[in-house]
């Protein structure tokens, strides 16, 4: 427990008389260690600790009778601010059909999240259409169809060999023609260092002008979260982040890294494999989890 650790640090320092800035540094080293163990990116953790130190000193922590608790409070509050303060909803403004595009690395949880999102939107009274634009992964289209079937949402697919950009266009056209108001495009997992694949997804964006582009990432991602997120952001300027598999015991520091480096809000978290396993993101809950 980070608060216990810090109390321990300050107890030890108390005996030396008045607290000094160096004492705060020692406490913050414990915090930094906790952040790194939680997979927060190295540079993000360093910059974050600098800001926390300024705030802590500004708040007269040195004069407090419970400096450990106070430092934890500053850290927690600063983290909540960084993670986005309050919840950021999906942007559904504009005339229908609106397009939502899922992007991310291989295995992040895009297809499953597309299904979860479709179910949520349907329960809110919208009429979603799932679009199967992953032409590479074996049975990816079947996977989306099975999901669509299980939640009674239509899935648009095109014959083998159709270009993903054409599939996206076709899905949008079908939605327009049949009066469906939301198009959710599932794309193939791809590496940010695969220029051809990154170019493909940029072309899909140009073709259908999504209202929301959701970067889907595994909640257990380590230091690489920053590299991948920045590269995807540079290419696509995504508008929201979904962190999946947070039903595991991973601390989720990737959330802080991705948010800090791209400035994009985390909109949802995945908390189970089932179609109802999508929750709106709560910054304070994740902050407590990262701090352990």
């Amino acid at each position: 427990q980070i608060s216990d650790k810090l109390e321990g640090v300050f107890k030890k320092l108390r005996g030396q008389g008045k607290l000094t800035e160096a004492n705060i540094d020692e406490a913050l080293r414990e915090v930094r260690r906790a952040l790194l163990e939680a997979d927060v990116n190295y540079k993000v953790a360093r910059d974050f600790i600098k800001r926390v130190k300024e705030r802590a000193l500004g708040q007269d922590v040195l004069k407090s009778i419970t400096p450990g608790q106070q430092v934890v409070k500053v850290v927690h509050d600063e983290m909540v601010v960084l993670l986005g303060g309050e919840q950021a909803p999906l942007d559904l403004t504009g005339s229908p059909p609106l397009v939502v595009m899922m992007i991310g690395l291989q295995g992040a949880g895009k297809t499953t999240t597309a299904g979860k999102l479709a179910l949520q939107l349907k329960e809110k009274g919208r009429t979603p259409l799932l679009v199967a634009a992953d032409v590479y992964r074996p049975a990816a289209i079947d996977q989306l169809e099975v999901l669509g079937e299980s939640i009674d949402v239509g899935v648009y697919r095109a014959p083998d060999g159709t270009d993903p950009v054409e599939i996206a266009r076709g899905g949008l056209e079908l939605a327009k023609a049949t009066g469906l108001d939301t198009v959710i495009i599932d794309t193939a997992g791809r590496l940010h260092v695969d220029d051809e694949r990154m170019d493909e997804v940029a072309r899909i964006k140009d073709a259908v002008s999504p209202r929301e582009i959701l970067f889907v990432a595994d909640g257990a991602t380590g230091q690489d979260a920053v590299t991948a997120a920045s590269a995807f952001y540079e290419q696509l300027v995504f508008t929201g982040v979904v962190l999946t598999r947070l039903d595991s015991d991973t601390r989720g520091g990737a959330a802080l890294s991705i948010r800090e480096v791209t400035g994009v809000p985390i909109k949802y978290i995945g908390v189970s494999e089932k179609p109802d396993g999508l929750e709106v993101f709560h910054p304070d809950r994740l902050a407590s989890r990262i701090l352990g």
Binding site: P138, Q143, H192, G222, T227, A228, D249
Partner: protein, 277 residues
């Protein structure tokens, strides 16, 4: 590293940054830094320059178990593939099927992911691509029953290697880990010494949670090897240093892409060189 007459704190910080950003983890990084400080704290410039890299490479190397090839002398050799959701298990099974087929082995795939949408379809495509047989039931069937049928069929048909694909599961889900233990028990009862290999597939982009994943899977189904998938990305996969050091389970293979030939034996030297950049 360098330009200074000794291994100063600034240089040690730079090294710490490299190690942490490679997902080596705080404890392991601090251990390595401490060893460097002891060994080179007062050394002169030239000795430090070359020494630091060599020492790090040597220390990292000593924490990695020497990989041995996958057991394939039993007939049939049973290989159980496990791991959390999305790690790369099914694709690794496909690649292994190709590898063994290329070696002239008769391969069978057991479709024991009976849960996830189109998991069996995905595996059927891999079986077709690689010329492997496949044993499958309908979606929702009992995974252990599929395993049992595959074992019987493998013996009856003179199969050389059986690759068992299992559903992704979080190590924190007790009921799912129990299901996995049951699959392993059924396999063990049906074929002497099986499974001959139990491979945990780890996604190279995973952070420190990979240590917990490996601990939990090792405790529940006794791993014989790791597969580090998606190493063709930018993630360094440094978390396997702590995993192999703690559990003494070797990394046997690395996944370097989505194609059937994108699987290679783990090369510790190459891995360490890439990690240290």
């Amino acid at each position: 590293v360098g330009g200074k007459p000794r291994l100063d704190e600034e240089t040690l910080e730079e090294i710490e940054e490299i190690l942490i950003q490679a997902d080596i983890g705080v404890d392991t990084s601090m251990d390595l830094i401490e060893r460097l400080r002891e060994r080179y704290g007062d050394a002169d410039h030239e000795e430090v320059e070359q020494g630091v890299f060599d020492l790090l490479a040597r220390e990292l190397g000593s924490m990695l178990t020497v990989p041995t090839p996958i057991a394939s002398t039993h007939r049939p050799t049973i290989i159980l593939v496990v791991g959390v959701n999305g790690a790369g298990k099914t694709t690794t099974v496909g690649k292994l099927a190709k590898r063994f087929s290329d070696d002239g082995k008769k391969v069978m795939i057991a479709a024991c992911d009976t849960f996830r949408a189109a998991a069996i379809d995905q595996l059927e495509i891999w079986a077709e691509r690689t010329g492997a047989d496949i044993v499958r039931h309908q979606a929702g069937a009992d995974a252990a029953s599929v395993a049992y049928d595959a074992m019987e069929a493998a013996v009856a048909q003179g199969i050389d290697v059986v690759l068992i694909d299992t559903a992704g599961r979080l190590h924190t889900k007790v009921n799912l880990m129990e299901e996995l233990k049951k699959i392993q028990r059924v396999v063990a009862r049906t074929i002497e010494g099986a499974p001959h290999e139990t491979l945990l597939v780890l996604d190279a982009t995973t952070g420190q949670n990979a240590v917990e994943q490996a601990r939990a899977f090792h405790r529940d189904v006794s791993l014989t090897g790791l597969v580090l998938a998606k190493l063709d990305g930018t993630a360094k996969g440094g978390v396997i240093v702590a995993v192999t050091h703690e559990l003494d389970v070797p990394v046997r293979l690395v996944g370097l892409g989505e194609g059937e030939d994108d699987l290679q034996p783990f090369d510790p030297e190459h891995f360490i060189a890439a990690l240290l950049g």
